[in-house]
Amino acid sequence: QQQVKQSPQSLIVQKGGISIINCAYENTAFDYFPWYQQFPGKGPALLIAIRPDVSEKKEGRFTISFNKSAKQFSLHIMDSQPGDSATYFCAASGSGNTGKLIFGQGTTLQVKP
């Protein structure tokens, strides 16, 4: 019930293309869903986050789509750039659990020039 499953494990996209990463969760008590970006040797950095009262949130080239009934959410990176090459983690957190994050397994994105 605490797991967050992420796919794909790795992704290669051409510059200018759309990168899509998917996550699924089981625990219906989760009510905060962030995406983190991590570069080698660095800690994860918050990219964008959503709460289940909305189905979509957009910030620049990054969009989260959220499907509460399916218990799924996804990250879309529009106009992908080589600088977006990194590992992306979805995560979830819920009321009553002190804000601790449950992370997915990660997706390594490579954007080819």
Binding site: L46, F89, S93, G94, G96, T98, G99, K100, F103
Partner: protein, 116 residues
């Protein structure tokens, strides 16, 4: 403003030894989290402090792991009798408040622990 800092950045130790990993959170952040990230995996929660007290230590794998935050700022993660399976990157994060269900967590760069 400084972010979350962690020292050392790398630690190599021998099986059975004791290690301490330090985290300096962002000034004013009352909530502090420790996570462990194994190679190719997402971070796994270890322990959460709200102020000086450990509000949730459910992620600590066993009693060899212990963490303190005596003055509500700097935290130290302590590992006794290290095992090769403890090798991982240990991440620290802080947030303004440990809001249930959210509140941005700012991560440090981590300490890479290698147990030989």
């Amino acid at each position: 403003g400084a972010g979350v800092s962690q020292t050392p950045s790398n630690k190599v130790t021998e099986k059975g030894k004791y290690v301490e990993l330090r985290c300096d959170p962002i000034s004013g952040h009352t909530a502090l989290y420790w996570y462990r990230q194994s190679l190719g995996q997402g971070p796994e929660f270890l322990i959460y402090f709200q102020g000086t007290g450990a509000a949730d230590d459910s992620g600590l794998p066993n009693d060899r792991f212990f963490a303190v935050r005596p003055e509500g700022s700097v935290s130290t993660l302590k590992i006794q009798r290290t095992e090769r399976g403890d090798s991982a990157v240990y991440l620290c994060a802080s947030s303004v408040m440990g809001l249930a269900g959210g509140g941005e967590q700012f991560f440090g760069p981590g300490t890479r622990l290698t147990v030989l």
